[in-house]
Symmetry: C2
Subunit: 348 residues, 2 copies
């Protein structure tokens, strides 16, 4: 597997190999005819600069590291594919590639991998996703002053470039939409209070209730694991409340909980979207096929992937932090059958 080197090009073009390098990298002006000779030699020999040699000399790998926490067994990550593809494509346009490496549950071990990639010079920067409160990776990378961009925020004090979806806005839209459909007892299926993403989304719930003039009923807020089973069980408990306390709408902070809730409703012989409306979050492609199809909140994943890479590449090329440092993107409410307006059947 013989590779063409810059020296062969130089020999063919009858210049020194250093000159070839300069011409290729547009570092210097040469006579048009020299340039012509060089470029045609490059063409004819099919020369491609050796990536490794280039990195060694320039001390840059033109590689971005990324890992993500794997989807728990029995679930799918609805945005992973699109997120990755959008990053790959955007990175390629600036001459970067993504190095993907395994996720390790154990914090210590995970940081070791980050350190390894930095110390061996394999990557120039990282993309982090699922950033949480007090994120060890954020702290580590800030300390080492190594470039990275987060998809998701951490503590308010941690200053670093990130892009995030404003989940609050999404949930706000859901609640208002339900309110306009005549719903007045709007319950929430949420994560525990130590979830950053969860709190962000819940803020939209609280704000919307307030703006609609509805009271906050703590018995209508359930917090748990965020999966189908929890959604089912929590909803089941709502349905065991006295009639007047039962919700007529349920806002779930993700699609899995929403699906669980829908199942619980159906099991009681009720129809989601009629007696009780349900909304989800994430727009898992599957939910359009549910019966009834699920109203949910969609994140502009493609744009996010693009933006994350653009922010990181800017840092790497310009050597300074992007401005603005952080970006919040509003998600979009997708209305489907599960949140029809309330039909006044005279009940209550």
């Amino acid at each position: 597997m013989k590779r063409v080197t810059i020296k062969e090009v130089a020999a063919k073009a009858d210049v020194s190999y250093q000159t070839v390098s300069k011409v290729i990298n547009h570092k210097v002006e040469v006579l048009p005819e020299t340039a012509e000779r060089i470029w045609s030699a490059v063409e004819e020999l099919g020369y491609r600069p050796n990536y490794t040699a280039r990195s060694l000399r320039s001390q840059r790998s033109r590689t971005i590291g990324y890992t993500w926490s794997p989807t728990p067994h029995g679930l799918t990550n609805p945005i992973l594919d699109q997120f990755l593809q959008s990053m790959f494509l955007t990175a390629e346009q600036s001459g970067y590639y993504l190095l993907c490496f395994p996720y390790h549950e154990e914090n210590e071990r995970q940081l070791q991998v980050y350190a390894e990639l930095i110390d061996t010079g394999r990557v120039d920067g990282f993309v982090l996703s699922s950033v949480e409160y007090n994120d060890a990776r954020v702290q580590f990378l800030l300390e080492r002053e190594f470039p990275f961009v987060g998809f998701g925020r951490s503590d308010d004090e941690a200053l670093f470039p990130y892009i995030d979806v404003d989940g609050g806005v999404g949930v706000y839209q859901s609640v208002v939409h339900l309110y306009k459909g005549g719903r007045r007892q709007i319950a929430a299926l949420a994560w525990p209070e130590d979830s950053r993403v969860g709190n962000n989304r819940m803020s939209g719930y609280f704000n919307a209730l307030k703006d609609c003039g509805l009271p906050i009923n703590t018995h209508l807020i359930a917090r748990g694991a965020g999966n189908y089973e929890f959604g089912y069980q929590a909803c089941d408990e709502f349905l065991q409340l006295p009639r007047s306390l039962q919700p007529d709408a349920i806002v779930a902070l993700n699609d899995y909980m929403a699906m669980g809730a829908m199942a619980a409703i159906q099991n009681k012989g009720l129809v989601p979207g009629e007696e009780i409306a349900v909304t989800g979050f994430d727009d898992n492609p599957i939910v359009q096929y549910l019966r009834p199809s699920l109203t949910t909140v969609q994140q502009p994943i493609w744009d996010i992937g693009q933006k994350v890479i653009e922010m990181l590449v800017y840092q790497l090329e310009e050597g300074k932090l992007p401005d603005p440092l952080c970006t919040l993107i509003p998600p979009r409410l997708i209305v489907r059958q599960s949140s029809q307006p309330k039909t006044d059947t005279g009940k209550e």
Copy 2:
């Protein structure tokens, strides 16, 4: 961002830097006390060999390239996450990482990217997935004699290392399972005949019918796009056949078609799994939540990811093709509610 080099370690351990290199790579025996000095210097300085320099000298990148065709909009790839994670982890154990790059629809353009990665020396080998008949990438890599392993087969003549799921076995199991449940008119929802994966799976359908002593009814075989819509429509047409020609079971070659079929059945006021059984393929995590939950065929994705990498790493390290060259893995039938035994209601 000062990095520790091998020379600093050498200085500290009071040996030549070449000796440090040899000790680190276990290329030579030294006095125990020398080794001790070297290792503790490594430890104290936190030395990590520079990846780029190492690659340049050894002409190996210890990097594996991978790309995949993105999931069409509105669908999710149920196995992507697990497949990637298993590859990352297995690769890491042998000191490799995966370089992921964008997928380009256009064949020409896609091959350019493969060529680029080869010529610039960025990767040592590739993993290909969704290999099809007459696959341009296979041909290209074989010609250039560049190492790769496929997840999926191509033409029978193309000789290259691959691992594949024996879809035929999976469908065979489905059909036999349905037969044992008393089903006798078993329809198939398939892809067009130019689909390699499709033909492999269909072979199991034909073999099973034969082994069960059932005739092949061409009116019970529908071929199309492989999505939800096609499944719905094709099933709907089955249901418009005269009663005696209608299927009492439907084997879909993927879960999306199965879901479409289930919806069509429900729309006729029938219950999937009772009057008409339905099975899918892929075990998309979502299908366990359908009502009724879907019987389907599960591929051992984790094992496949592991094996693919092992085969490739073997090639890279040993310089020879793995033996056996190819591996076929049987999938597993997951029985759920949608394929209950037929209850003899006396109809027909």
